[in-house]
């Protein structure tokens, strides 16, 4: 049974080899990262890791935080919750990191939570679901806007536009499902009624049957397509255009990306979506408090990677900003102290908005930081 021993020793050696150490006077800060840089959502994770890598490099070049360098230990979970769970174990128990950023999509973030909660390691999640921080968990924080905020902002605009009866086509992913749930929960508050709901799969290539049913439902005044990033929102939008439907169309923030415009190639004309201001660089007003950081983000990213950063990169960039800000305010590397410092984040200007956290709010982004955009001439235009 030597093979048993051999495997354990092998795994231990591998674990040792993988920790890249950076030389510094003070003991370095160990930042653990679990992102999906391959698999179905690999396109999200790759940009997210780039943004963090860039931020950490900049901090280290400027001499680190309070004399400490940041050492990044990054793992790819292959878009698989079970692997993310293992790698989080590895970060908490084997690498003994001081804090963790990651969880590209909500189910993966949810799979990481039990381990950081048990291990007592501060964790800034980049998943979208509200469930990550509601109810509040001691060690868990998150950056991007929640699906509830996006749903509320959509409903607000529907009300302003006078659409009272809507049909919803949602992707049967976690994002789409919770989008529908939040729309249903808040529709009444905004005088909106959901008269048709249909769903489609992430890898479906056509949604015309579902949209036909929504179209043929009596009284529908607007359609909401609640789908995540990548192909799904574009597939549904193309089906919508193929059917020649002319009702007002709404999509969530995840659709606001150059990729969506390239894939739909004109099919999205007139579609409305709520998103953070930074997503459309040219739309940021000169006097905005966020102008400096947004410009810095775009310039640095393009210079380093030669491409325009996709919006998801902001999820980890903001997480990085929150972490750095908190670490500056702590002198020791005590995990509880770091956690407390993150919870005390106040008026931190990030890409997605201005973060102010509290013991009751581990997210800290106000709902008003979402703006409505419309697709015009295959470009995103800021409304009002």
């Amino acid at each position: 049974m030597l093979k048993t021993l051999g495997n354990i020793v092998g795994a231990a050696i591998v674990a040792g080899l993988l920790t890249t150490s950076t030389y510094a006077q003070e003991e370095p800060i160990k930042l653990g990262i679990v992102l999906s840089t391959s698999g179905p959502v690999g396109f999200l994770g790759a940009a997210e890791e780039n943004a963090l890598d860039m931020l950490v490099h900049q901090v280290n070049e400027e001499g680190g935080i309070n004399g400490r360098q940041i050492e990044m230990i990054a793992y790819n979970d292959n878009s698989d919750a079970a692997q993310a769970n293992t790698f989080t174990q590895r970060l908490v128990n084997s690498d003994e990191v001081d804090l963790i950023i990651g969880g590209t999509i909500s189910p993966i973030a949810m799979a990481m939570i039990p381990i950081v909660e048990r291990g007592g390691v501060p964790y800034i999640s980049v998943g979208g679901s509200l469930a990550i921080v509601d109810p509040v968990k001691k060690w868990v924080f998150k950056t991007p806007h929640t699906d509830r905020q996006v749903a509320q902002r959509m409903l607000m605009d529907l009300q302003d536009q006078g659409s009272q009866k809507i049909g919803v086509l949602f992707e049967n992913s976690g994002f789409g499902q919770s989008g529908l749930k939040e729309l249903k929960a808040y529709a009444g508050e905004y005088g909106v009624e959901i008269v048709a709901e249909e769903q489609f799969g992430t890898s479906d290539t056509d949604t015309t049957p579902q949209l036909t049913k929504i179209r043929d439902t009596a009284g529908v005044q607007a359609v909401v397509i609640f789908a995540g990033a990548g192909a799904p929102p574009a597939i549904a939008t193309k089906s919508y255009a193929n059917l020649g439907m002319k009702l007002p169309l709404y999509l969530p923030h995840s659709a606001v990306s150059p990729e969506y415009l390239a894939l739909t190639a004109g099919a999205a004309e007139g579609a409305r979506m709520p998103t953070a201001l930074f997503v459309v660089r040219d739309a940021v007003p000169e006097d905005s408090a966020q102008k400096t950081i947004i410009e810095k983000f775009y310039t640095d990213y393009e210079e380093r990677y030669g491409v325009v950063p996709p919006p998801f990169a902001a999820n980890t960039y903001d997480a990085g900003l929150i972490a750095i800000d908190a670490l500056k305010r702590t002198t020791s590397l005590d995990k509880a102290a770091i956690r407390d410092a993150i919870e005390e984040t106040k008026d931190l200007v990030g890409l997605q908005g201005v973060f102010t956290m509290s013991p009751e709010d581990h997210h800290g982004l106000p709902f008003t930081s979402l703006k409505m955009f419309v697709v015009e001439d295959n470009q995103f235009k800021l409304l009002d």
Binding site: T37, S38, G39, P40, G42, F43, A46, N172, E198, Q199, F200, G201, S203, T205, D206, T208, P209, Q210, T212, K213, D216, G230, A231, A234, I235, K238, N242, L243, G244, E259, A262, L263, A265
Partner: protein, 291 residues
């Protein structure tokens, strides 16, 4: 109401043609060798992604498409020579795991060499939709359906009426006997991989304007293609086409009339029921001949 029915029909035919094109490659390799090539979906992806990459590198469309198809054919032949042939004589599942491994290698390489984003390709003739009695079908969908039928005719002609095609079928029926009459089984297997890679690439390039493509799309396309081929009797090229269309129509009508939440589940249940009624697939009677 009838416009609604027509719309479901068109959606089902378009999606079904995509599945059928993916299924055709399985049928061809299986009929030549008895190998279930789970890398087939990755050939589809590779053909489309290579076209995307070549267009990005500045090649015009009419040059990028043949080059991408040739790249895919070369990869298909390499897969046969370096991975499938050395395992000659192994059990079917060993070969399945090998083709799964080849698929992972293709997927993993595309992800690094090209990128991880979702892409589209130009539609043939500029795209747009056709309005038939109040229901719409995209022109690209018509192209997919047309080319699918053309492919199955060509494949059918090749297998039934050319010497090479007959030799290929002979190898699948009885390898030893084929060898005795002077057929080289290895060359036939190599050729079947080359043709199915080409079919995959053509399919990928055609369906991308409708379904989009990323390095990760191959797995799902491959799964649907396998279902289409198995439904049609696996070693049967026309069967794969019918299987694909049936699967597409099942999904579309279930989504339209029953439940969009359970469309894939209902499709699967119906397929399993079909197997109980006709244990050899839709084309059971012919399966021993393997068209």
């Amino acid at each position: 109401m009838s416009a609604q029915f027509l719309q479901f029909l068109f959606a089902g035919l378009t999606v079904g043609a995509i599945y059928a094109l993916a299924g055709l490659g399985y049928a061809l390799v299986y009929s030549a060798s008895g190998v279930i090539n789970f890398a087939q979906g990755q050939f589809v992806m590779l053909g489309a992604m290579a076209t995307v990459g070549l267009l990005g590198a500045g090649l015009p469309y009419f040059a990028a498409v043949p080059v991408a198809i040739i790249i895919t054919i070369v990869v298909g032949m390499l897969a046969e020579k370096l991975a499938v042939r050395p395992a000659h004589g192994s059990s079917i599942v060993t070969l399945i795991v090998i083709t799964l491994g080849v698929g992972e290698l293709i997927k993993g390489s595309v992800q690094v060499v090209l990128d991880r984003s979702t892409h589209t390709l130009p539609s043939i003739g500029g795209g747009g939709t056709v309005d038939i009695a109040g229901a719409f079908i995209s022109t690209q969908g018509l192209w997919v359906i047309g080319v699918t039928f053309l492919c199955v005719l060509l494949v059918g002609y090749f297998l039934n009426s050319t010497l090479t095609g007959k030799a290929m079928r002979a190898v699948s029926c009885n390898r030893l006997a084929a060898q005795l009459v002077g057929i080289k089984p290895d060359r036939m297997l190599l050729m079947s991989f080359a043709i199915s890679a080409a079919l995959g690439a053509i399919g990928g390039i055609l369906i991308t304007p409708i379904s989009f493509i990323s390095y990760d799309s191959g797995t799902m396309i491959g799964l649907k293609g396998f279902v289409a081929a198995a439904l049609g009797g696996l070693g049967n090229a026309p069967g794969a086409i019918v299987g694909g269309l049936v699967l597409g129509l099942l999904e579309s009508f279930t989504a339209g009339y029953i439940s969009s939440a359970y469309k894939d589940a209902v499709a699967f249940i119906l397929i399993i029921l079909v197997f109980f009624v006709t244990p050899n697939g839709l084309f059971g009677a012919k399966s021993s001949e393997r068209v």
